[in-house]
Symmetry: C2
Subunit: 426 residues, 2 copies
């Protein structure tokens, strides 16, 4: 007998049939003795379609109107889900962001939740209703509708869970939990029973696309337990929660990879003080998020500087470099977008020296060349050729003792499919 | 320099291109020195699609959820129109029914407007915005969203016009005004420059589908001037307003026809007191709206009773008659759905005797048989064979001096097309 918030994404409510499935699941949870609150995203591609309509009319749509437009998507799915629940003989009541008491700042399209007044939801539960809350939206101090940005529904769910003091925030998606690696790439990947917030955040930022980082950050801040699970099965998924002693046994919790970054190399850079600063301030000034930076040993006062950045930032990076390469009197710049970043993540790394050495040795033994390295206290990231990404994940997965006894059955993907999937994941 | 409310229906905002046209028109009105407020319906078939989704999930969707669902349609069109206006360099602000201060009773799906607080709209006008109001929706005393029923956007427009004290409420549609008859049926029909509320209401109830009756009733009650005009041209349309001396000159203002009714004849009815009462109370009890009733002279204590009713009520009429025909010991009943009701409408009829005589003579001279007759002080309706409907309208149009010198160019429609068009008009 628990108090549960259950969040369903756009895929889970994409059609009347899927909405029926969600209604069944909520009712099953009620029948099992739980109190349950649903949080929903807009149906399928609704949000994209609304954005398309808006852009057809205004290349730079006013933010207030855009948020009101987009918020209708969740209003449709919440009412339809409420109707589906009622059709099965249970009482349901839908809540817009405003009615759910979700207050945000005024930053349209990327609003942050500042407060939540969950009294009306609690009342509805007490009266026997299954509340259905529109994800992704809130209301600012002027009474205007705001949206939380893409993936904001996960954040709504965590915020509602915190607001009503739920025991757990279930986040349903098309995967059944968090794995030690992407099972389509590493067939011996294991589903984790639980993972702590820090590891989850590092895995997410390193390319594992299961959960929105913002939602995990919110959950960590307010200590909300998340249960990441499949919308299409009843299997228990992965619990994301505070670190417990038993969780810290493993040195490495999981391996993420990300093929959405690109590597840029500036060649023939005069090795003078201030040159690197000039390059990277210009890039930062143009909103290019540089990730790893490598400077080769200089030779004859000339060096090469490489950095990685998200593929989405590449047009702005090029624009900056077209200008700066001449200014710093470098020779040229080259772009390599056939790269992948493979990251080992684990809070256990802090107390286990030798992780880096073992990782480098493993890749070396497998003839995989490391193009760049970066680290945090609980993460070790290495850039390799995209074509070697799957092999890198697999051999590291084995070397760090993560392999499961059973082999994941889904066919292994091609490098292109992995790349596409990973970019979607971000 | 006027204060204008301009209402655009679903067809006028069905696509981004159409929305651009509406934005242009509003801006042109502003440039001409007017203050203007737009009221919009949902885009094209949006409302039907939402109803379809709801019915797929719940054959009897909860009214509160249904209204919240449907209200999203106008929220989409209002924001898109606001964006289109802003893209052209003018400031726009969208208003939901709630924000426009449209208070209704609690009758979901057919709410009546009880009050309007138009202060926020007036403020927006004063600040230089073009307010864009969602039609069709309001808010009840519990703060729940209500909808006004089909065609409710016209009523919203009239209510807003009254609330802000507008000089005129422009209602844009695909026709350019009110005609003396349907020009597709009577090619010599004339557009009326103006028509009084009573005549407009009678024409609407007799089948002329230009305006929602409810909106006209609201306008009459609060003396709001309506301008019915085309969304696709700049031509002046028809003003609907209080009767003026000049308007009363014509005996007949217009001729409406309606092919959506059916005629039912009960044969071999014993001519005893109380039998007719039994039949018509049973029909009324089953929500069949009987229109005209004809009882033939009885012969040997046996008579026939005929009545007309909307085609939509026919299933319920049949259900009632299957039961009642046996009870009253009548012989049988017959259904004729190939009929048309042709109505002469005009406040001038009150002071001009002889209208009925002239109408019957005219139809007789044209070999058109009259199947039933009903009247009001300002209307004379006659039922004829559907195949003769166009001929009846044309000869009456000529006989009552309504013919224009110019001939309407659109090809004359077939009886089926007229029937389809007329049913849509209702």
């Amino acid at each position: 007998m628990s108090l549960i918030v259950a969040k369903f994404g756009g895929t889970s409510v994409a059609s009347p049939e899927r909405i029926q499935m969600v209604a069944k699941r909520l009712i099953a949870s009620r029948q099992a003795g739980n109190d349950v609150v649903a949080v929903v995203s807009a149906m399928g591609k609704t949000t994209d379609e609304l954005v398309g309509l808006a852009r057809a009319l205004n290349t730079d749509p006013p933010a207030r109107e855009m948020d009101r437009l987009l918020s209708t998507g969740e209003q449709v799915s919440m009412t339809l889900l409420a109707m589906a629940i009622e059709a099965r003989g249970y009482r349901a009541m839908s809540f817009t962001g405003r009615q759910a008491g979700i207050e945000t700042d005024c930053a349209h399209a990327r609003a942050k939740i500042s407060r939540i007044h969950a009294e009306r939801i609690k009342e509805a539960i007490a009266e026997g209703f299954i509340p259905v809350v529109a994800g992704f939206q809130g209301i600012d101090q002027n009474g205007d509708i705001t949206t939380l940005g893409r993936g904001g529904s996960d954040t709504t769910a965590v915020a509602v869970a915190w607001g009503i003091g739920a025991d757990v925030c279930e986040i349903y998606s098309d995967v059944d939990g968090v794995y030690t690696a992407d099972p389509r790439v590493a067939p011996r990947a294991k589903k984790l029973d639980e993972i702590n917030y820090d590891d989850m955040l590092e895995l997410s930022s390193a390319g594992a696309g299961v959960l929105q980082m913002r939602a995990v950050e919110f959950a960590r801040k307010f200590n909300v337990v998340i249960h990441s699970r499949s919308a299409f099965s009843d299997t228990t998924g992965t619990f994301i929660k505070e670190a417990t002693p038993s969780m810290e046994e493993a040195v490495i919790t999981g391996i993420a990879h990300d093929t959405s970054e690109v590597k840029v190399t500036i060649r023939g850079v005069p090795d003078m003080s201030g040159v690197a600063a000039k390059v990277f301030s210009a890039l930062a000034g143009n909103a290019v998020n540089t990730d790893m930076i490598i400077q080769n040993i200089s030779k004859d006062g000339i060096t090469d500087i490489s950095f990685t950045c998200p593929g989405a930032d590449l047009p702005r990076a090029k624009e900056t470099l077209d200008r700066i390469v001449g200014e710093i009197e470098a020779r040229e710049y080259l772009i390599d977008d056939d790269i992948a970043k493979v990251s080992l993540v684990g809070t256990g790394m802090k107390s286990s020296p030798g992780v880096a050495a073992r990782a480098f040795t493993t890749l070396g033994e497998n003839q995989i060349n490391i193009l760049a390295i970066s680290t945090s206290p609980i993460r070790l990231s290495m850039v390799v050729d995209a074509a070697q990404a799957a092999a890198a994940v697999q051999c590291l997965h084995t070397a760090f003792g993560l392999d499961s006894d059973s082999v994941f059955e889904e066919t292994q993907l091609s490098a292109e499919e992995i790349a596409a999937k990973m970019q979607k994941g971000r």
